[in-house]
Symmetry: C2
């Protein structure tokens, strides 16, 4: 199993490389990416080597080649389809999030227990949880986003797992419990913020 840090670094590189490409660059040196991302140049070269990206000695790397290899590592140029559960405060913001479209990430359906939410016009259809299994099967969904209140998050999670979901991005402030074969990423906004505040205090 490849380390989570490595995978995250690849996504960080990608973000920087897309930016550099946008401002007109075609090639980069490991030191430049180091400056952009904060990782060391040697580590970056090792990472590139790991995904079989070859540079030219003294010539640097072609941005296109790296981006291609990173996309390849993540297994797709295809659009990835996910579902979203919970169209409250956070959920509806995620539903409207623009960057997903650029990134070939598509939320194909959302779910909410509130019938009013189901009638309301969002850019994606909102169903009751009853439809969840059907949709997951039809669209062959592998990953879901949970944005429901803390008290119902585990129940929703269990249901998604039962329907065959293998990856969950969880915004509820709860540590979800799942079987081993399911991957959960808990994004606790409070924890992230606490973490930042902690470091801010250290650096004063």
């Amino acid at each position: 199993m490849s380390s989570t840090e490595f995978t995250k670094r690849l996504l960080t590189y990608r973000l920087s490389l897309l930016h550099l490409q946008e401002i007109g660059l075609n090639d980069v040196y490991s030191h430049l990416i180091a400056g952009e991302t904060g990782f060391s140049a040697a580590l970056i070269r090792k990472d590139f080597s790991r995904i079989n990206v070859k540079g030219k000695r003294r010539g640097g790397y072609e941005i296109d080649v790296i981006l291609q290899a990173i996309n390849n590592y993540f297994g797709d140029d295809k659009v990835s389809k996910v579902i979203l559960v919970g169209m409250g405060n956070i959920g509806s913001a995620i539903a409207r999030y623009k960057d997903f479209q650029n990134q070939k990430l598509r939320i194909v359906a959302a779910f909410d227990i509130d019938p009013a939410k189901q009638r309301k016009k969002f850019s994606i259809p909102v169903y009751s949880m009853g439809k969840c299994q059907e949709i997951i099967y039809c669209y062959e969904i592998e990953a879901g986003i949970i944005a429901v209140p803390a008290f119902s998050a585990q129940t929703v999670c269990d249901r998604l797992v039962y329907c065959g979901i293998k990856g969950i991005l969880n915004f509820a402030p709860v540590n979800l419990k799942v079987p081993e074969e399911v991957y959960v990423s808990n994004v606790s906004l409070s924890n992230e913020l606490r973490h930042v505040i902690y470091h801010a205090k250290q650096n004063k």
Copy 2:
């Protein structure tokens, strides 16, 4: 400098412990927390030892004591004050986010270039960026949240840093560049989701 993983684990423990406390427990064993969080029992004990939490041999740990020590590590029972820049899609969801209040995290002011946003009624005041320095000084703010579009994120960031902010939680899909003494946590929703999808595919 203490590792970021260690700090994150502490916050994960806290989330689980609060939950366990809510369902009526007073004491816990390291193995129980292991089951809740997915970290190994030995690691948990080492972590507790590191923040000077003592258990009773064969008796487990008192939840209260652990929580107190974790709060203490993060340096506060006081309310932590932060600012928020950008009241668009993501920004306004963050402004409304309930969990911050429970967690003694308070967004004291928000900023947006759009005058319409400034007039609109949110539960927190929304100012133009012009007010930013003044507010940061008055409230002695150390950390800020950036939720502006990618193209303006670095500019906003530079301004916050200039005003003395030492910690930034960034939701814009950009790797922000900051001086060494400033801590940035980049939360890219797209990257988080990609990461989950990647693991979901692995686990199929």
